[in-house]
Every structure is written in C-alpha cells, then in structure tokens.
C-alpha cells in the first residue's frame, strides 16, 4: 500500500446528540404534535381525575321534573342534565373513560396482533406469506362496522368485549404495513450477516425485524387509537354500544339527537366536540410521530 496518511474523513453531521434526544427534539418542534399531546394529557386528567373533584351520581335514574332536562348554566349543573337527571359534565367524564379505555386498549391490541402477523408473514415469505396475506385481504373485505353490529347483536356488548372485537377488526392495516417493512428489513445486510453466520429465524425476527419496525408500530398505534374511538362512537350511534348504565361519548351524542329539535344543544355539542377533539389530538400526535420516525423526506 502506498498511502501514508489518508485525509481525515468528514464526520457525519448529526452526530452530537443521542438518537432519543434528536427524536424528542424533532417531535417537540412539531407544534401540532405537541398540541395533540397536551390535549390527550388534559383529556385523561379530565376523565379519570375529574370525577374525584366533580362528584356526581351517574347511577340513580331520576324522574323528578325538577332535575331532568335542565339547560346549561343551571346552578350545580354547569352543562345541564339529561332526561334521566344525570349531570352532563359528570357524565362526559364517565363516558370519556369508556371511549378512552376502549380506544387505547383496542388500538394497542390491533397493533400487537398486526405486528406479529405482519412480521412473521413478511419474514417467512413464499406460500406462508401468500396465505397469511389472503387472510388479511379477506378481513379487509369484510366491513368492520357491519361485523361489529352483527357481533353486538349476537353477544351483549361489554367494555372488554368491545376492546377484543374492535381489536380483532382493526389489526389488518398494521399487519400490511409491518409486513411491507419486514420484507425490506429482511434483505438488509445485518440480517443476511446473521443468517450467514448461522443465526436462527427467531433471533432474526425478535432481535432485528421487530425492533426496527417500532417506528411504524408506534405511529400506527396512535392512528389506530383515533380510529377505535371513532368506531366506538359509530357503534353507539347504531344502537349497539355498551349497555346502560355504562355509556360513551357516542352514546351520549346519540341520545341527544332526539332532543335536537327541542333545542337542547347541550346534550349533543359537548360529547360531539369531545370526540372531535380527542380523535384530532391522536391524529396530530400520529402525524408528529410519523415525521419523527420517517427518514424519508428528511434532508441528509
């Protein structure tokens, strides 16, 4: 070799901060994502800590005309009461618990199933992948709302059942996304190097494929939560939601529809707006996370 001292290689430009710090900085610089995060934290506080401060009776049904259908601004009932005498503000908190719990857990469940299914199908490839993905195609072809309605007609909808059922109809999209990613990751040199040295398939999937799809997983989970909250509302609107005395924002809104012509807007607007705000907030976060994890479109 004739070289004496090669010129120093130019250092990579983004090397100072740790990956977590840089990711957090990217996320923080996305205003919408920060607004979304703040809203979600406030909503969780409102729904779960709120009832400790604003104590209301959400069980006892009343037929006392002095209590039912009070408009907003009534002393003791800032948002009024409904036809059963429940305080709307307190009811919003209770309904929010249902919507958020189902949304979060169903979104999580869907992502979990989808990730495993997609990672395995994409990694194995060939006929196994073909069959697994046709199952996903069949699932996507079946309309989710329709299925939920049928299942609600067959079984009595409870919160755990809703979580499982919504999770079971929502895992298909993440499965496709993760599969596509697994297919590219498995041809990366680090996976080939592991296979060449005799590493097992389990190790390849567990140590390389799944950890490297984590960005897609998190982004998708956020969107799944948003969609699950909407789905809960739709099911309630179609009259097949959780059974009383449990309720969710969609059910509150639906009950209020009958009173629209009477001008009882406080029955529909608060739950309606809360759904919009919550779903928007999760979408904002998902968008911010996508910017944060997505290398595509970044200046290099």
């Amino acid at each position: 070799m004739t070289t004496s001292t090669p010129a120093p290689e130019l250092a990579p430009r983004l090397s100072t901060a740790s990956p977590a710090t840089r990711a957090w900085r990217r996320f923080r610089s996305n205003k919408l994502a920060m607004i979304g995060t703040t809203i979600v934290i406030l909503l969780i506080l409102f729904c779960f800590a709120g009832p400790l401060v604003w104590v209301t009776d959400q069980v006892t049904v009343s037929i006392d005309l002095a209590i039912i259908n009070k408009p907003w601004g009534t002393p003791g009932h800032p948002l009024g009461t409904n036809n059963l005498g429940y305080d709307i503000l307190g009811r919003l908190m209770k309904a929010g618990q249902t919507s958020l719990i189902i949304g979060l857990l169903a979104g999580l469940l869907a992502t979990l199933i989808g990730t495993c299914w997609g990672a395995i199908a994409g990694y194995i490839g060939g006929p196994v992948d073909a069959i697994m993905m046709r199952v996903v195609d069949a699932g996507i072809a079946l309309p989710a709302t329709f299925l939920l309605l049928i299942l609600s007609a067959i079984m009595h909808p409870s919160i755990p059942l809703m979580i499982v059922v919504i999770g079971l109809v929502s895992w298909l999209v993440p499965a496709r996304l993760i599969r596509a990613e697994a297919i590219t990751i498995k041809t990366r040199d680090y996976v080939l190097a592991l296979r060449a040295v005799g590493g097992s398939h389990t190790r390849a999937v567990a140590r390389h494929i799944i950890p490297n799809t984590i960005g897609t997983m998190i982004v998708n989970a956020t969107f799944q939560v948003a969609d699950a909250i909407l789905l809960v509302a739709y099911i309630s609107f179609l009259g097949m939601g959780v059974e009383p005395p449990a309720t969710d924002w969609g059910a509150m809104l639906t009950k209020g529809i009958d009173y629209t012509y009477a001008g009882y807007w406080w029955l529909i607007f608060p739950p309606g707006l809360l759904i919009v705000i919550t779903v928007c907030a999760f979408n904002f976060i998902g968008d911010g996370l996508r910017d944060m994890f997505d290398v595509k479109g970044r200046q290099s």
Binding site: T3, A7, L194
Partner: protein
Amino acid sequence: MTATAPTTGVQPVLTVEHLNVQFVTDEGTYPAVNDSSFEIRPGEVLALVGESGSGKSVTSLAILGLLPGTARVTGRITLAGESLLDAGEARMNVIRGASVSMLFQEPMTALNPTMTVGAQVMEVLTNHRICSKAEAAKRAVELLGRVGIPDPERRAKGYPHELSGGQRQRVVIAIALACEPKLIVADEPTTALDVTVQAEILDLLRKLARESATAFLLITHNMGVVADIADHVAVMYNGDIVESGPMKQVLLEPAADYSQRLIAAIPKMPAAHWDDIVTAAQEGTVTVPAVPASLPADDVRPALQFDNASIDYVRGGRAFRAAHNITLTIPEKEIVGLVGESGSGKSTLGRCALGLIPAAEGTVTVLGHPVHARSLLSAEDKAVRRQIGVIFQDPGSSLDPRMTIAQCIEEPLLVHSPEGLSGRQARQARVAELLDAVELPSHYAMRYPHELSGGQRQRVGLARAIVLNPRVLIADEPTSALDVSVQAHVLDALRSLQAAYGFACLFISHDLAVVNEMSHRVAVMWQGHLVEVGETASLMVRPQHPYTIRLLAAVPSPDPREQARRREARRKLATLDDMATLADGAPPA
C-alpha cells in the same frame, strides 16, 4: 482561490465568484460551500472533484438554481454575462434547459417512467419554443440518434424501462444537448454505470465537447474520469476549493496537501502491455484461457472450494441462472479477488458461499465440509457457518441501527457461544480486542451505528466478520460505497487483519484497481461465467480473455499518460469485429 485557466482572451461562459452556500436546518446552520470561485471557457471541460460532503454537488445545483428551500446562497454566478442568482424563477425556467442543462448520476430514475422517451426529449424543445411540436418530434429522434441510441424512431415511442442504464443516460444527454446550451453541468454522470458502459458514455461526452462550443462542468469523485476527459481540475474539500489548475498538472504534481493525499490514496494499477495485447487481438490470436479447475498441486489446502457450481436466482417469480458451472478454489491464507460488472453473478457466488442461496448443481465446500442453504440449520451446518465471516457493501445497512456497536460485534458469539467466549465478560473482552484490531477507540462499543462515519461502520463490520475467528472471509464490495481516502483506510485494516489472523478471503469487487492492490489471485466473471483466473501480477498486465481485455481497457486510469494509452488501445480494439461481438454479448438475463 480562483481556477487558473490559460488566458486565451476568450470570455468565460461561466464565472462563479465567492460562492457561499449554507443549509439552515432545525438543528442549526451548516456551511456547504465556502467562498468558491472558478470559471469555464467555451468548449472546455472543468472537473470539480472531491469526496462526499465536499460541496461539489451543491455547487452544481446552485448554478441551476435547484437547491432546496433550506439553502442560503450568496456570491455571484454569471452565465454568458447574466447573473443567475439575480434571475427570478421565471427567468431561470427560460435559462434552464436552453442555456445551461444538467446530467444526473442516477440514469435509472432520472426519466419519468410513464412518459415516452421521445416526449421527454421533446419537452425541452417545446418548453423553450425552439420549434413546433411536429418539428420537435423529428428533432427528438435526430438527437436520440446523435447520442448513439440504436433505432431511435422506435425508441422514441417506447418507455424508459425498455432501455438499459447506459442508454437512459444517453437519453438524458440528448435532453441536455437539445437546445445547444452554452454549459452542461454533469453531476457524476457515469458513477452509477459499469466501467465498460462508463467508457462509452465518456467517449460520447468527449466527442460532444470537442465538436461544439459547449462547456462542461463535470462533477466527479473518480480521478480516472478526470484524467480521461477534463481540461482543468478544481479540487474541493469540506466546502473549499483547495487547488485548481490544468488537469495534468493537478493529477501528476498536486500542490495542495489534501490533493496530494487524495491522489496518493487512489489504488494503483500497473501499466498493461497494451502493444502486445492489441497486436495479438489484431492478429486474431487472442485465446480464451481455460479456467483452471483447481490450483497446481502445491499441497495447499483449499479453504473455500466451488466445484462445478451453478446457481439459480429467483426474481419476480422468474428463476434464471446467475452462475454457470463455477469451479474455483480459494486456498488457505490467500486473498482471491473476484471481479465483474453488475449482473455478472459475482455477488451471487459470494452469497452461495455464505449459504444464503443454494447451489442448483455442483457443490460449495468450506474446509472440505459442504455449505447448505437450508432454512433450518443442523448442528453440522452451524459448525460450517462458524468458519465463514462476511462483510457487505453498504455501510448504511450493514449494522442494525437499533443495536450498539458492541451488540453488533458480539452477535455471532451469542449465536454460537464458542468455548471460552460464552461468558459476558469474555465477550466484552473480545469486542474490545477487535475494536482495537480495527483501530477504533474502545468507547465506541457503547455507540450506535448512526454516530459513526461510513468508513468506521465498515471497520465495525470487519470486526463482526472475524469475531468467531473464521477461516474464510467473504468480502462483498466492502469499500465500494466509500470515498477513496476512507477506502484506503478500510483496505489497510482488512489487510492487516488478514496478516494477523490468516484467514482466506474471497474479495468481490467491481473495481480492478482495488482488486489489484488486495489480492494474490484474480478471477474474472462475465454473465455468469468464470472467464479467466490468474496471478494478479500477470493478469493485470497481460489479460488473456477478450472480455478481460475490454474490461481492463475500460477502467479509466488516474494517470493521464496511462489513460491515453488505454484510450488508444480501446479505440483499436473497438474496430475489431470479433472483440466487439464477444465483449458486447447478450445483456445479462
């Protein structure tokens, strides 16, 4: 510093004065080009050379006004008396394509896949209202013919995917030429092409530069390309032009410290016996050498042995034969270079040796044990795999981005838990030992791959490849993605590791010069066939097979004198029908 051009009294076409470019990102402002000045006269080729990150491509995009919105540009760029930085977007649209046009690095993606080739050439003519639509269609066909596209009328109606990479680059050249611009900016126009195709494109560019008054600004990292067609050279490093002058002066007697080191780092090749080669070819006595079935029986034990191996490759549901009846021996403690262009099957051969692709026929053995590409590996298979290490090309994907450097290096130890290295502390000690062997500081163990430069990552890849102390290393283009000075460093590391650990190595590369410096023996592959095997020293100066001859003649030498000889030899060889028939061959399936 200003590029010193001979004062011929001709006004320069392009003058760049005190150009500064900065990128504003959410993490700060980065300078890309600092106070650069140069000029180009009509008919001249100015090569702007430098390694990645030197600012040469940014300079080219600044001239065309195609930098992204995050760039801040100051200084003066004057094209034929007009200031380009002051021209508005509308005016730039008139200038781009008409007065200055551009060639890009990646011909495979430079054309719109859903638009006919002819329409894409016509677009530049109709944009500038050079002629009517009907006239433009005719001109487009003429232009395609001029840049050497066979059957231009039919090709004009076809789509880009029907053309090879070299032909697509010719289409892009036709687009650039269409309005007879004063300046063509060519950003690494041949980097993505095979050497033999590169040589043809360089011939075309040289012809165009000689025929017209069009000036060329050639952006490249390849000194061989510079030696082939440039008149002047400006060397960039870290945003600065560190040296400029006439091509021969800069390449042969570099003045700046950086240029000297850069040129010294370029792998060298011996001067081939071109006169003998050309004479033999002209007399029709070129022989196709028989590829030796095995090495002369010098009682060497083969470390890796391909025995009549054929390999099928499946792509898009279609299987085709990527390697035919390969018989090749890699003796213990020896480096054998395997060269070939893309699609020659050289990487397929490497992957077969790694057990990633099965051999359809024949066998591959490591130290006498067959390598199987089974999905589930038996204990014997795993024992064989322990003896093979691998390093791949792409530093971007060779290490798992979610693992620390230590985790990357120790992974093979976790797979095999070899005796004495199964404990946590033993593994850590081994990682530290190897980081030291590849000259990386030990605290890098806790870092993540993205914090390392490309060259550092390839050295980590080397450390991982030999962590199990294998007897065979497969190196698949280990330095092809690196800059020359970094490449020199990684090759040094590989060489010293080989000396210290004594493994055999199959060194796969498209770069004859690198193979020349690295290997004891060279094997040449072409379209799935092994066409020639020989001692490096003799093969590089007196190749036997017509394809090897053509390949060698196509590699541009960074030495302008040797390059002149090669070009002359290429010209003579090209006139021989037999050589042309053989070397053109059928495109790889």
